[in-house]
């Protein structure tokens, strides 16, 4: 009996259960203690939740870029974080110019549209160049090679931007129309910009989903992600579809960059790195290759990250729990990849075996 048990489950499995179990216990106990201590009011939690949703919307938009490219090329586009950054950063110059000339105050809606346009175009350009120069030649190489290229591209782009524009933080100008907050039922306050971010992201994501499900290009994209070679045999121009996939992902990332910048104001050359990893976590969380999954994963991660540190760790007496919010995100990544690598909604990929 014991031998059969040991044959099924190895020492490492037991170790992982121990670790997983402890983390779960930590979370439950911590949450319980925090809630019992009652230092935080409903209003606090509401703020955390809304913040998390807004942050999560940004993650979701970026995650879609990761999930689309992974679905089609089976590689993590490490440099996608820089695609995101390039949109936000370039948008800054436009925003700054518009602010100086007064255009921003006079025609805020038009100005914002222009901002999005510029940012998305920049992101798209970067993504297309990436695909053409760094990824396309390596499509048939062993897996390690395009991965390393992507990492190299990520750093190259970061430091090119640093070299071109300098290393200091740039601040987006104040957009009056987006300032201020609304109150709900007297108790709860929600910031205008947060609403804008959540709504804008939702609109964009819905647009993408419709595109992929309804249009010919979308169908072709799904075909290519199922089986590249067969899709080519069916007459689909695989290269063109791949480029279009990058374009879509980049457009969303550029938009995400502007939304982030409008919310948090600061941009610099390094801003893509951590959100990029978190967005990838979100994509995996929802099921890599799965579009609704990426959206859900992003929102969930944002929430978890916002509510988590306080909820789980405060009760346990850990000082300054917000410092560890990235730890929570990364731990979530690891746990998802170990216990449910296909994600919440399940992978939409066919896995080929020997």
């Amino acid at each position: 009996m014991l031998r059969r048990f040991l044959e099924r489950f190895t020492l490492t499995d037991l170790f992982m259960w121990l670790v997983g179990g402890s983390i779960l216990a930590l979370i439950v106990v911590g949450s319980f203690l925090t809630l019992r201590a009652g230092h935080y009011t409903a209003r606090h939690w509401f703020d955390f939740v809304v913040f998390g949703l807004a942050q999560g919307s940004v993650y979701a938009l970026i995650a879609l870029g990761y999930t689309l490219v992974y679905g089609i090329l089976r590689m993590i586009n490490f440099a996608h974080s820089e695609v995101y950054m390039s949109g936000a950063f370039t948008g800054y110059f436009v925003a700054d110019a518009m602010n100086r000339s007064g255009f921003l105050d006079q025609n805020p809606l038009l100005a914002l549209l222009a901002l999005f346009a510029v940012a998305m175009t920049t992101s798209i350009t970067v993504a297309v160049l990436l695909e053409r120069i760094a990824y396309r030649p390596l499509r048939r190489s062993p897996r390690l090679v395009p991965l390393i290229t992507a990492i190299g591209a990520s750093f190259f782009l970061q430091y090119t931007f640093r070299g071109l524009y300098g290393s200091q933080n740039r601040a987006y100008p104040d957009v009056e129309v987006l300032d201020g907050a609304w109150s709900l039922g007297g108790e709860f306050i929600i910031q205008k910009i947060q609403v804008v971010v959540i709504v804008a992201a939702a609109v964009l994501m819905f647009g993408l989903y419709t595109f992929v499900q309804r249009t010919r290009t979308g169908k072709a994209m799904r075909a290519v992600s199922e089986d590249k070679d067969v899709a080519a045999l069916m007459g689909i121009d695989v290269d063109a579809i791949i480029v279009r996939t990058f374009i879509l992902g980049a457009a969303l990332a550029g938009a995400a960059g502007v939304l982030y910048a409008l919310m948090f104001r600061q941009v610099n050359f390094f801003m893509g790195f951590i959100p990029g990893i978190k967005a990838f976590t979100a994509a995996v969380l929802g099921g890599i290759g799965n579009i609704p999954g990426a959206m859900l994963g992003g929102l969930f991660l944002g929430l978890f990250e916002s509510v988590g540190p306080t909820l789980f760790l405060d009760g346990l007496g850990i000082p300054a729990p917000y410092q560890l919010k990235d730890v929570i995100a990364f731990t979530m990544l690891v746990l998802v990849l170990i216990y449910r690598p296909t994600g919440i909604l399940g992978e939409q990929l066919t896995t080929a075996k020997a």
């Binding site: 059969r4 044959e7 099924r8 075996k353 020997a354």
Partner: protein
Amino acid sequence: MAPILTARQVTKRFGGLTAVNNLDLEIQERSIHSVIGPNGAGKTTFFNCVTGFNQPEAGEILLDGHHLERLSPDRITQLGIARTYQNIRLFANLTALENILVGQHPRLKSGMLGAIFNTPGTQREEAKALAEARRLLAFVGLTGKGDHLARNLAYGDQRRLEIARALASKPKLLLLDEPTAGMNPRETEAMTAFIHRLRDELGLTIMLIEHHMGVVMGISERITVLDYGEKIAEGAPVEIQTNPRVIEAYLGREEAEAAGEPA
């Protein structure tokens, strides 16, 4: 002679598809046993179940009385099963000799400490292993090519190297997956003779997946025919050749009628 491999009611499903369905199979020791069937019949999947690459949903597989169903592939190899692959899967960037040395892994013992301190035991073992690898290389006719990278070898040489690598673990049972694929008649003949040698000189039991009917009929002592994951016939080559169900599976109804089955 006793059966060395026994499969009972083995079933393997992939999602909605049942690749192997309640398969019973017995392989006698020191025999050459072929498994044939149209494409998609489940032959390679069955191989994968035997070697532990896939875990069957139901059924048992026994090697000399050991249950194999829940074991990991490395354990199964240690118990004495080795295989070659349909699409050659050598270690491309290792040399031919290194490939064979890797094949010897389960029969060697030296570990990290022995390697770092270069203990006499390790030195002896490595020297023996190298000599053995050279002998295997010679046995398959690849003398002098030991230091060539596996990916630079000719196709025929690669196939032979793969067999040498499989032999390196001193298996009791050797699974050959389409060993003559892509070969011309002369090479096929040589491979057939070679497979005989494997059994005759080394005392191995050989289970074969093959599509080349000449090879199958010429070399096998016993043939199992699969179709859609099920066994549809089993017996000596002579019986299989004239079996209408087999002919139908491969060639369709009309041919079966032509062979004498009533409409």
